[in-house]
Amino acid sequence: MSKFPNQTEKNAKSVEEATALALDELGVSENEAIIEVLDEGSKGFLGLGSKDARVRVTVKEPSVFAAKKFLGDIFRAMNMEVDIHTDMTGESLNINLEGDDMGIIIGKRGDTLDALQYLTSLIVNHESKDYVKVALDTENYREKRTESLLSLSNRLADKVAKSGRKYTLEPMNPYERRIIHANLQSNAAVTTYSVGDEPYRKVVIAPKNSKPYYRKTYHKNNGYNSNYKSDLIKSDEF
């Protein structure tokens, strides 16, 4: 049984009243629901033979409904007023949060936002037969974070290329690591890889092979020697 009941039936004197009761119980508006009239009811005559109207109201998008309900309950318990905007496109559910104090919901480097996104995804996919990808965002945090990761990785790549020394970044989630790998993939001077285990896996930006090899040869012989050139050619060939 669903923990977020998405259907209810109500009796009342009129169809309108019964519908209003049902919508109120589910907490959705008329255009988010399918309304079926099971019984029109009848007024009867002088109070005799009167019959209640009966309607069945079903939420159109159960997974969206579950996500909204879940997040709404959490924010209410936190005494936060947050508007939850949802957009279901194909198999992805985009949720945007709006309100004051969004910093608390984002958390340190987005960890609270990621945690909420993960929990929401578990709940949505418990409700839905097909896998739904849940993306949670507020105040364009995701876009801003992507931009700062791009500029950070460009800056560090320059530094690594100049110094010839590798640089290890702070731990990041797979999504953020991928942004950096993809960004530096076409960089001629550096290469990237990840080290460590989740959730402490980190990206390393390292200079491409030729440079350290060249340096090593150079230092070992305390300066230029005749072997150096052939070594370099060898390393480039293989």
């Binding site: 923990k3 977020f4 879940f70 309950d73 959490i74 318990a77 936190m78 005494n79 936060m80 104090d101 608390i104 919901i105 958390g107 960890d111 609270t112 990621d114 945690a115 909420l116 993960y118 929990l119 578990l122 709940i123 989740e198 959730p199």
Partner: protein, 76 residues
């Protein structure tokens, strides 16, 4: 934040009626003890504790709004 933990746990498990949270107040921090049905343990812990970690992160955020420190313990 006790309520936040209850909401999350109840949403994740198969037996929400068996979810209970008790609050133990310490000097500096609050300890929240979460109990769920035995068969639901996996639902609140997850592979390599991933779900437990996400729950703790959200409850900590709720606590920080009340300027409190919180420890979430999942009891066997």
């Amino acid at each position: 934040m006790k309520e936040v933990l209850e909401i999350i746990a109840k949403a994740l498990v198969d037996y929400p009626e068996q979810v209970s949270v008790s609050e133990v107040d310490g000097e500096q921090s609050v300890i929240l003890e979460l109990k769920v049905a035995e068969s639901d343990m996996g639902k609140v812990i997850g592979k390599q504790g991933r779900i437990a970690k996400a729950i703790r992160t959200v409850v900590k955020a709720a606590a920080s709004r009340e300027n409190k420190r919180v420890v979430v313990e999942i009891l066997q």
